[in-house]
Symmetry: C2
């Protein structure tokens, strides 16, 4: 599916930006030595899935498409050095990473890149890792990246992620000649019903909402500039906040940490859109992936579902807005908890289906979007991690803007912080880096409001 | 035509890499100030053609395609800062520029980029300018770039190239709604004959060679790895040599400077291909653009033609190889001088037609190529140029590799040097940066051989 969706404007790669402070005893050329060491690796030492490439890169969607070993893997291509122009601050880092994220992946090779970025203020450095979603999903990628780090600052010899066997199941290696992607495409199509028209099937799903009471969403997402077509260029901005600050707010409002994350997104989007005279009257609606316990699962197992939540962007008072968000997510989760596992999957397919509506030419910006933005909160490690003695300061996830969903906000918890990545289309959302600044301002305002 | 040829693998942009030494009194942040000044420009201050974008970027080849003003031109996008990782040597610069050249142009904007690259050894900096060939051709681009430089090291306020009206005729601005590109496409098609099949027309041209005696080429280009399909990634390498050294060799061999340029290319390609066990037995053939005086032009006017020349890559002895090149180009030019102006144009269309053979799916690597490589020598300014007091040290042209022509060598004369740019496909020609090193070695060898 992610190969099917790939285009010049909608690039289906995810990424992570990790910032590090090197140990005091690090020599000045430690990054050069690291890259030299990496480049000395042999292709055979590269682990699955990082050594896999597509069989027919010229024709991404092809019944004979499959993952095959890249015998001539060229590590020099995949591992790259970059440097920040002076002064090497967060702004310059944001510009470089936005640019790197706006370049499409080369499908003639294993679809990933590692950029070692030097020249950050204070001798710090960053790693930017880009992976196509068809190779591994973002969640697995972040897990693999984390597993390549150490809890021990004195562990100085840990290999890089692509030289470590992955914790999960690697994608199928179809050296035997069997079709790989085609099966997946067929499965996607059958999930959408027997209709040969994807567009028709999706519209059916959307219309079904008003009839199947179990699946009705109480929310109506307004039209907004967030839901226009996107161009190729990206803008990325980050914000880092102490988790305890948000938890304290949540306790006072009888809500969850996630409620606060959503209310702050609502407040910063409200300010950003007001400045452009583009704030819809109705509250913006977010699609929020959540873990739920289905009512028919006696073993207490989890399922990944998705809820639609109001961001209360129509409410000016921060405390009132947070209350509205808390009420909205509570209602949505109650509804989800009452569902069977099958219904949860169906419901989630429903709320995420607009993601596929972009397949319909001309649909984004015309079809009323069932939600305006995707906001994810990914749990990460609680304890500090190290890469060869360099402390991981922050780990920002970068997801995928698509036609109709020009903005994605994903945060990851790490060592007492929440690291927020705001990724969006540079043209649809001008100066979106302001959202990150406004997010920080909104934290302080909300703290004052609920005190 | 250049929009028609654009694909993920064959990107039709040209570029120039200019290296500068700043004046001694330049403040440490002079590049930052320069970029800030550029970004403060208003869109209306940007001159044609730099403010033009395509009307239908989603569909490059479109009867309604035209150049239109970009009212919302975003200079922040077009003008970018980069920095070299340590140690900031020629190798690191080559890596960065190869990478920049391998990224496709965004057709939703005016198709050009200016990269200000800091962090070169000794406080030096570089400008990398990328332009799509559909906006301006490489020759015009280099002229515009040169005209934005000054002969006066004390001229510190000269605007950048995109704020200066161009010396030549800008591309047609089709605000009136008339079709632009379509006319050009139609003209190209009519030049190819009335056959509706481009492939058929080209094959007719190729077959005609054996019948029309006036147009027969004495050369048969061998098959070589230079003439395979290319991938998306690029490798760029440079070499700079004193023009006088090559002229001295030319005098001793009774040849021209261009003959020496070709013989050196033959020697370095011979060594490069021998190392890969891929040297064809027959000599490699280069297509070389030349200025000629047609026999029917009484006024002594010039026409741009193209000759096919042997690179004598089959000859081990450097002096003998140079003699063979001199004989080959003399024969080719004599033939060209005997032609009428119309025949020169026809001949040039013929020898350059394989460039269009790449349009035929599957042709490159199967059809025997009429030549193996394009080698151009572009005349540049004789006197040193300055940009706001910074001395231009070298100016390297970067041309276009295409399917079937994986390598392009272009040199430009400047202030007593020849600046060579070797641009090629990273995968078809592994480690092509060695060609630049071998070129330097070949100069010394040839000097010893003709002494």
């Amino acid at each position: 599916m992610f190969l099917y969706l790939e285009s010049r404007e909608t690039m289906m790669h995810v990424a992570g930006l990790m910032q590090f402070t090197p140990p005091r005893d690090a020599p000045a050329d430690h990054l050069r030595k690291l890259v030299d060491e990496i480049r000395a690796l042999k292709a055979a030492e590269i682990q699955k899935p990082w050594n896999l490439k597509l069989r027919t890169p010229e024709l991404l969607v092809n019944p004979l498409q499959a993952w095959v070993d890249d015998k001539g893997l060229d590590l020099d291509y995949h591992v790259r050095r970059s440097a920040l122009p002076s002064p090497g601050d967060e702004r310059e880092l944001g510009i470089i990473v936005s640019r790197l994220h706006g370049h499409s992946i080369d499908f003639h090779r294993p679809p990933w890149e590692l950029h070692v970025i030097e020249g950050l203020e204070g001798g710090r450095f960053a790693l930017y890792v880009k992976v196509h979603h068809s190779l591994v999903d973002g969640y697995t990628a972040m897990r693999i990246l984390s597993s390549s780090l150490s809890h021990d600052p004195n562990d100085r010899s840990r290999p890089l992620f692509f030289a470590i066997p992955p914790p999960g199941k690697p994608p199928r290696d179809d050296d035997d000649g069997g079709p790989g992607l085609f099966d997946v495409m067929a499965a996607v199509r059958s999930q959408l019903g027997t209709s040969r028209s994807v567009a028709g099937a999706l519209l059916k799903l959307v219309r079904a909402r008003s009839r199947k009471s179990e699946l009705v969403s109480p929310l109506q997402a307004p039209k907004s500039i967030l839901n226009r077509r996107i161009s190729r260029a990206r803008r990325f901005a980050t914000h880092k906040v102490e988790t305890e600050r948000l938890k304290a707010i949540a306790r006072r409002a009888n809500g969850t940490l996630n409620d606060v994350v959503l209310a702050l997104a609502g407040a910063s989007l409200r300010r950003y859109l007001l400045e452009m005279d583009a704030l819809p009257r109705a509250p913006l609606v977010a699609m929020v992936p959540v873990n739920v316990r289905p009512k028919d699962d006696a073993g207490g197992g989890n399922a990944v579902g998705a809820i639609l939540a109001s961001l209360a962007s129509d409410v000016a008072d921060p405390a009132e807005a947070l209350d509205a968000v808390v009420a909205s997510t509570r209602r949505a989760k109650e509804q989800l908890h009452g569902l069977s596992k099958a219904a949860i999957i169906q419901y989630s397919a429903l709320v995420t289906s607009p993601f596929m509506l972009q397949l319909v030419p001309g649909a984004p910006g015309r079809v009323r979007p069932p939600f305006n933005v995707v906001i994810s909160n990914v749990p990460g490690p609680d304890e500090p991690l190290y890469f060869r003695g360099a402390r991981l300061d922050a780990s920002y996830p970068m997801s995928i803007p698509v036609h109709g969903l020009a903005l994605n906000i994903t945060c990851m918890s790490y060592a007492g912080h929440l690291d927020f990545g705001f990724i969006g289309c540079r043209d649809t959302l001008p100066h979106l880096q302001r959202l990150a600044v406004y997010y920080g301002d909104a934290v302080a305002e909300l703290e004052r409001a609920v005190r």
